[in-house]
């Protein structure tokens, strides 16, 4: 592990004052206490890993650091001076740069133009950009990072990993001294990740501080000089790498001694509903899954491990290149609409873009997937749809003025319930739920759990994708664990624990 050695070349020399300090940062949102008096010291030339499960407060922390959120309490110090970070521009000026998972590159500008977007004035001569100088400057920065990309290439033609590197280069070109990376390896391959680690090693040698957010234990072990573990918005512990074992870290993230968990009522699954063997797509290889009536099957894994792709392939949204899918014992129809009619339902991860028509009302959204079934003749009855919708609103406890409220104006939890209502109305028997509780409040979460129970009791099969391990463990009868676009393990009964999942997810 040459990269790790390089990164580890600075056994934290903490005699010097920290480059950046967060002191007692506190932040609440309505109903959520996202950060509880978080303090963090970030030193130059050090990789500071922040570990934590989903909802532990990592993204709120980043946004506060970047000036996208204002902290309720506490303050930030740079080199011992108290600073105000009210806007992203302030953060940039202080040398703090964040590389988000969604990139801010312009597809049809080239690498150099993207790096210097908004700062072209530095290369302007008589109002014209000295293109050669700009590319030369970009070249220098890329060379510094050990990247041999052509600076004339469009961002649109770059892969995800390359775009990420360009984002890093962009941050460095702004003389960033603190570089925050939010799950940088989530969507890139192993080899690309290695290049990223090498780059990080170079950066630390140049005395840049890296704040690295990840779940991947291997990366944490390899890169982290200092590791801070967040849980429920509070810092659990902050240690040097060698002070804590991997097992202890996992334990600290989960917050319970491993093995202890909420009791799960065992269910008695029925006949298989779906059986998939050897499914391959452009992004998946050799996926085999079985789902039976009356059970909840989890799909665990990191973001980008291929979980979403699996449900999309099962649902017929992505073309499969190999393998076969059987529904209730017979070959599954090929088109998506036919699979819906055969009883499949998908609750997509991004409900606003893929699940709902935001400008339309609850009735239109809740009935859209069941029109073929409810109105077999093709004639639509507003009154019947109205009745159905009221029924669904009552059944799911959707808080709304009425059936004609536009979905855009609903809260996240209620929007999610509308998506569920759509499939309930369609009488689906196999529910593929991709992150069903993301972005919904605690109350709605509980109701969604209750609904899943009801569905299963009614004989449906449910697949749940979740990044929240406690949720998975509590909800699911068994779970498949994914890594690098493959299924790497299957856990059931007592074997299904957070620790077991984490170990499969993070281990090589």
């Amino acid at each position: 592990m040459p990269a790790a050695t390089a990164a580890g070349g600075h056994p934290a020399d903490h005699a010097a004052a920290p480059l950046l300090r967060l002191i007692d940062i506190d932040k609440s949102f309505p109903g959520v206490h996202a950060l509880r008096s978080v303090s963090l010291d970030i030193h130059a030339g050090e990789v500071h890993v922040i570990l934590g499960q989903n909802g532990a407060g990592k993204s709120t922390l980043i946004k506060t650091l970047y000036g996208a959120h204002a902290a309720d309490k506490g303050h930030i110090e740079v080199e011992g001076r108290r600073v105000a970070v009210a806007r992203p521009a302030d953060a940039s000026a202080l040398g703090i740069a964040v590389i988000f998972q969604e990139f801010s590159l312009v597809p049809y500008l080239d690498i150099a133009q993207n790096i210097y977007l908004g700062r072209e004035a530095a290369f302007a001569r008589f109002g014209l950009i000295d293109s050669a100088a700009m590319h030369a400057a970009a070249r220098t920065i890329l060379d510094d990072l050990g990247l041999d990309y052509d600076t004339h290439a469009y961002a649109a033609d770059l892969g995800v990993a390359q775009q990420q590197m360009v984002e890093i280069a962009k941050a460095l070109s702004q003389n960033a001294r603190v570089l925050v990376m939010d799950e940088p390896t989530a969507a890139i391959s192993e080899r690309e990740a290695e290049r990223l680690f090498a780059t990080i090693a170079r950066l630390t040698q140049k005395n840049v501080a890296i704040v690295y957010i990840s779940h991947r234990m291997k990366e944490v072990q390899m890169l982290g000089d200092r590791i801070t573990i967040l849980r429920d918005g509070a810092v659990v512990t902050s240690v040097l790498r060698d002070e804590m074992s991997q097992t202890e870290m996992v334990g600290a993230m989960i917050g319970r001694p491993s093995g202890s968990q909420l009791a799960r009522t065992p269910r008695a699954p029925g006949d298989p509903i779906l059986f998939a063997r050897g499914i391959s797509t452009a992004k998946l290889s050799d996926i085999s899954i079985e789902i039976r009536a009356g059970e909840v099957v989890g799909l665990a894994g990191l973001v980008g491990s291929g979980r979403t792709e699996v449900v999309r392939a099962l649902f017929g949204a992505d073309p499969i290149t190999g393998g076969e899918i059987a529904l209730s014992g017979s070959r599954a129809p090929t088109t998506l609409d036919a699979r819906v009619r055969a009883g499949m339902a998908l609750l997509p991860e991004d409900r606003k873009r893929e699940g709902l028509a935001l400008p339309l009302d609850i009735r239109d959204n809740a009935t859209v997937a069941s029109l073929w079934r409810r109105f077999t003749s093709g004639w639509f009855s507003p009154a019947a749809a109205e009745r159905d919708t009221r029924g669904l609103i009552a059944q799911l406890g959707i808080a709304a003025h009425g059936t004609h409220q536009t979905v855009r104006t609903l809260s996240g939890g209620n929007q999610q319930k509308v998506v569920l209502a759509k499939w309930l109305a369609a009488g689906s028997r196999l529910f593929l739920l991709d992150e069903p509780t993301r972005g919904v409040d605690v109350g709605a979460k509980a109701e969604i759990y209750r609904l899943i129970d009801q569905l299963v009791d009614g004989g449906a099969g449910v697949v749940v994708i979740s990044s929240e391990l406690p949720e998975l463990v509590q909800l699911c009868d068994r779970a498949y664990v994914m890594r690098d676009h493959r299924i790497v393990g299957h856990l059931d009964d007592d074997a299904l624990t957070e620790r077991a999942i984490l170990e499969l997810v993070v281990h090589q």
Binding site: P88, A89, S104, L105, V106, P107, Y108, L109, D110, Q113, L117, G118, R119, E120, A121, A124, G127, L128, I129, S131, G146, L147, D148, Y149, D150, H152, A153, Y154, A156, D157, Q162, R191, E194, R195, A198
Partner: protein
């Protein structure tokens, strides 16, 4: 660093030949076919004709490229061309100097561009509808000013300018080439150019970079209208008179030229030179069919088929290069 080298990076400049758009392929084919069918097609006179005709279309297609790069559209360009010509002509007849008349047309075009821009950039109304509305306004004003009649009899200086030559090159071609050069510099060598592409590609990224994206967006429409307004001088020079409805339909032809050249309606994908290819393709098609005296009705069909074919070629190439 022992990391594998990143290969397969298509160089931006080298894309010129590796990715000749459908219009380019069709243009070459047409040039070959027309030359074989009638060698006069490549005579100097005819090439000058093609140049003159294409240059007027280009005067609209070039600014239209910038607008389409921002994921917009300007249906009012043709109507503005007519209106601006009428304004210049009427001002000249009223005894204004050529400079003052052009300044007036410039001012009014700019104002209309600003109206389009404000509605589209700041109120985020769809460009299609906004410019459809302003198209009516402009066309109406031109008609009302002239009572529908062509306006002639103004100073011959305008026509003299249109007919003049710079060395051996006719003035309209010089102007179009100059405009191309200017817009090329603007698009590829100034900040504003990057921002134009960024508006279509990722307006949020532009905002995040601290740029007043809406202002840039507005500026694109203002600039586009200003250019179209000034090109009206060439048009009335060509006809030695100003016609209130002369530009109607030219906006669609310009849009066709831009799209033929491989500029997409999405994500700021496109290139300025595509407008040149597209305008040449359309002009060469019409000119060649005229030279071969092909029936007008078949000419109409040919334009439609050319458009669809070029799009199909682009689509197919994109599909198989992935």
């Amino acid at each position: 660093m022992t990391a594998p080298t990143q290969s397969q990076q298509r160089p931006g400049a080298g894309q010129f030949f590796s990715a000749i758009p459908g219009a380019g392929i069709l243009l070459i084919l047409m040039l070959a076919l027309f030359t074989i069918a009638n060698p006069r097609f490549v005579s100097q006179t005819n090439l000058v004709n093609v140049g003159l005709q294409a240059s007027l279309l280009l005067m609209i297609a070039l600014p239209m490229t910038l607008i389409i790069l921002t994921e917009g559209l300007d249906l009012s360009a043709g109507a503005l061309l007519g209106l601006s010509g009428v304004i210049v002509a009427e001002a000249l007849l009223a005894g204004w100097s050529v400079f003052a008349a052009c300044a007036m047309a410039f001012a009014i075009s700019t104002a209309f561009g600003a109206l389009n821009g404000v509605l589209i950039a700041y109120l985020t109304l769809p460009a299609f509808v906004v410019t459809l509305g302003t198209m009516g306004l402009m066309q109406g004003i031109a008609l009302v000013m002239t009572n529908g009649d062509p306006v002639g009899g103004f100073t011959p200086a305008i026509e003299t300018f249109y007919r003049s030559q710079l060395w051996i090159f006719p003035m309209p071609i010089v102007v179009a080439v100059a405009l191309y050069a200017a817009l090329w510099l603007l698009l590829y060598r100034t900040r504003l150019g990057n921002y134009v592409i960024a508006i279509g590609g990722n307006k949020d990224a532009l905002r995040l970079a601290g740029i007043r994206a809406n202002l840039v967006h507005l500026a694109v429409y203002v600039l586009g209208s200003a250019i179209v307004g000034l090109s009206a001088v060439l048009l009335i020079g060509r006809t030695n008179s100003a016609h209130p409805t002369v530009g109607i339909g030219m906006e669609f032809e310009a849009i066709a030229a831009v799209v033929l050249g491989g500029t997409s309606f999405e994500k700021g994908q496109g290139w300025l030179f595509g407008a040149v290819l597209g305008a040449l393709a359309i002009t060469v098609l019409r000119n060649g069919l005229n030279i071969l005296s092909v029936d007008s009705s078949l000419q109409v069909v040919c334009i439609g088929i050319l458009l669809i074919l070029a799009l199909l070629i682009d689509r197919a190439r994109k599909h198989y290069s992935r």
